[in-house]
């Protein structure tokens, strides 16, 4: 005897297409000024992104991971309350920006200065960038679990790439989130590339979204370059999370327009024609088309946003580049609550030689790898 025990479907959702046409039935509750705010945030993220890329090339910051093409991510941060949490991967600069993170610290962080990771009232409840792939998804589960135990309604959004969904921690996180019914949203930026490995080499699964189904949790695949659609999917997932209905996996289809990082050269493994094809799906471009269609775009507005973003980014960069590197004392400041005797001794030795060694490192160029 055979029978069907369960059947599943995976939905795809797009609110605004590449031409700026909106599906009114799916349109979330966003005012025109909020949509303008989203546009402004995307532009700001792109401005920082382009400038950080150039700063790396001129040796002023270290290895940098561009977000170019993935700016619609800002909606995932924009929609959150201050008491919500984020547990990012490393290609979410736009999310930090949208949450109101200190602009100076954003640049300072790429200078390899750990003081940028200090939480301040503006970035409260934002974990530092997590380079080990997928570990942050489990942290997010623990964070949401603690909120749940205290009866709080805060959600935790965690981020991962398409490659990251091949990691065991990703599956463990889906499983914990489902079993414990946590207010976790796993936002997968499927940008098609994990360094040189294309999405097709990661899994035989037709979608990444469907990986949630085995864990018994909600999922959706969306157009990740559609900032309104990102907002909509997040809004639905957050509502579920806050009301105790549990987690959601959102697979956002996007494209990494740049290299993996400034140390990478995608031309070695990726057909440049692909990049050209994705240019028309650009998240900023389609919002501009939308504004033009509904008559709220003007060249002056466009220039105004560019000028504002330019001003904000330049001010942050100037301030960040002026920050002197941390004192070597910082190496030992946050290892344990109280420094054990042997580390006190190690610290003393390092500090006693600082003046002599300083000159050796005065002109260190900012290079890096991976």
């Amino acid at each position: 005897m055979k029978k069907t025990l369960a059947t599943f479907t995976v939905e795809y959702q797009q609110v605004m297409d590449e031409e700026g046409n909106v599906d009114q039935l799916l349109m979330p509750n966003l005012t025109e000024s909020q949509i303008k705010e989203l546009y402004h945030l995307m532009k700001l993220a792109r401005t920082f992104d382009e400038k950080l890329f150039l700063l790396q090339r001129s040796g002023k910051v270290g290895t940098y991971a561009q977000i170019k093409g993935q700016e619609a991510q800002v909606a995932t941060g924009y929609i959150l309350q201050k008491t919500d949490w984020i547990a990012p991967s490393f290609r979410e600069m736009g999310v930090y920006i949208a949450r109101g993170a200190d602009r100076v610290k954003i640049v300072q962080g790429w200078k390899g200065d750990v003081r940028a990771n200090e939480d301040d009232p503006k970035t409260a409840r934002s974990l530092p960038v997590a380079v080990p792939i997928a570990t942050q998804c489990l942290h997010a589960c623990g964070i949401a679990w603690a909120s749940k135990l205290r009866g709080e309604k805060d959600v935790c959004v965690t981020y991962i790439g398409d490659g990251g969904t091949s990691e065991g921690d990703f599956y463990e996180a889906l499983n914990f989130a489902g079993e414990l019914k946590l207010g976790v949203i796993i936002y997968c930026q499927n940008n098609q590339w994990a360094i040189s490995t294309p999405r097709t080499k990661q899994t035989a699964a037709q979608t990444i979204a469907q990986k949630a189904i085995a864990a018994g949790i909600n999922c959706i695949q969306i157009d990740g370059n559609d900032v309104i659609g990102v907002y909509k999917a997040m809004s639905d997932a957050i509502a579920r999370g806050r009301s105790g209905e549990g987690p959601t996996l959102i697979e956002a289809i996007t494209f990494r327009m740049g290299d993996h990082t400034t140390s990478d050269d995608a031309s070695k493994y990726r057909d440049p024609k692909l990049v050209e094809e994705w240019k028309i799906k650009d998240p900023l471009l389609r919002l501009e088309k939308y504004f033009k269609k509904i008559g709220t775009w003007s060249d002056d507005y466009g220039k105004f946003v560019v000028a504002e973003c330019e001003k904000e980014a330049e001010a942050a960069i100037t301030a960040a580049l002026a920050i002197a590197p941390p004192s070597p004392k910082n190496l030992f400041a946050h290892v344990y609550e109280t420094l054990p005797p042997d580390l006190v001794e190690e610290e003393a030795e390092v500090l006693s030689d600082v003046e002599t060694r300083k000159s050796l490192y005065a002109n260190t160029t900012k290079t890096g790898g991976a």
Partner: protein, 328 residues
């Protein structure tokens, strides 16, 4: 004051602290209904509920990763690794996050987590149930590693670990879970982390041992004493394996001039190697002869039919005493 096994002392410590501190939550494989495979958490789910004593899915990275998140968001999780050998499935969480988050967040987040793990060998267990992984945790940096050698210490060290603002790996030697009882005060007491305990005073040899090796060494010292009444041996139990109390050790070998380190973990890069290296740097002129290590072998932990030949035993420890005394 009641005489109890280490299992009872640990259980009492958890129970008392969970009553006092509502942010504590226990999580792990079979820690709830079953009370843990060694019964350390017996009865705690019945008393504190399934929300605070949680039977998790079977996934070590999941347990340690979520414990990290719980601690970031204000809880004091006490996850259990069912056996310390299973902690390798979560090793990236220990090495990349648990020991580092304080530094990576420049002090914003700290992790008051105690990871309990039945550890080490000597009970004829199945494969992968007998490892002594302390060196991995120490090398990961930013963690504290604690290993009690008896019921009294177990309670005081566990309470100190739970109250520590830093993450602690609490290795419970399963061979001595129920092998002997000690008087354990009903009231709460803490044994300061990072301070060694001198269990026997002596003038001729310093022996450093922890966990189940402490009982072994006490026995070996007593046996040796009857054969060599003029030799007195000092036994130091570091209690906290990292940060290690080197000051107590240096003071001891200044007196004895001889050092033997006994541990179950393999010799190569075992904690004995680090102790020996530090003594070399800081106290070499106190020594009359080479540091001697009696340790597990530099081979994978064998299946139990040959376990006795792998682990330090009284024969090997006493042989080391004689070897050490050859240096005048």
């Amino acid at each position: 004051m009641t005489k109890m096994h280490m299992v009872g002392a640990l259980n009492q410590a958890l129970k008392q602290e969970m009553k006092a501190d509502k942010t504590i939550i226990l999580l792990g494989e079979d820690v709830g209904v079953d009370g843990g495979v060694f019964r350390v958490t017996e009865g705690l789910q019945a008393e504190f509920g399934a929300e605070r004593v949680v039977d998790t899915p079977l996934a070590e990275a999941g347990i340690i990763g979520t414990a990290t998140g719980l601690a970031i968001n204000g809880m004091k999780p006490i996850p259990e690794m069912q056996f310390s050998g299973f902690s390798y499935q979560a090793f990236h969480h220990f090495a990349q996050h648990m020991g580092e988050i304080r530094q990576r967040s420049n002090g914003t987040f700290h992790l008051p987590i105690v990871v309990r793990a039945p550890s080490a060998g000597g009970i004829h267990a199945l494969e992968h149930h007998s490892e002594s992984p302390e060196s991995f945790f120490i090398h990961a940096q930013g963690l504290k590693v604690v290993c009690p050698s008896g019921p009294y210490d177990a309670k005081g060290l566990l309470l100190a670990s739970i109250r520590s603002p830093d993450p602690v790996i609490f290795l419970e030697p399963k061979k001595i879970y129920r092998s002997f009882k000690e008087e354990v005060p009903e009231e709460q007491y803490v044994i300061e982390l990072g301070k060694a305990n001198i269990l026997r005073q002596g003038n001729d040899i310093t022996v450093v041992a922890w966990g189940a090796m402490v009982q072994l060494c006490l026995g070996a010292i007593d046996e040796f004493k009857t054969e060599n009444p003029n030799v007195s041996i000092e036994l130091i139990d570091p209690r906290t394996l990292w940060p290690f109390d080197f000051e107590t050790l240096y003071a001891s070998i200044k007196k004895t001039g001889r050092l033997i380190i006994v541990h179950e973990a393999p010799k190569a890069l075992g904690l004995g190697a680090e102790i020996s290296a530090r003594v070399n740097e800081k106290a070499i002129f106190s020594l009359k002869g080479p540091v001697i290590r009696v340790t597990g072998l530099d081979i994978p932990f064998p299946q139990y039919a040959l376990e006795e030949y792998y682990l330090p035993d009284s024969f090997r420890v006493k042989k080391a005493f004689r070897q050490s005394l050859e240096y005048k």
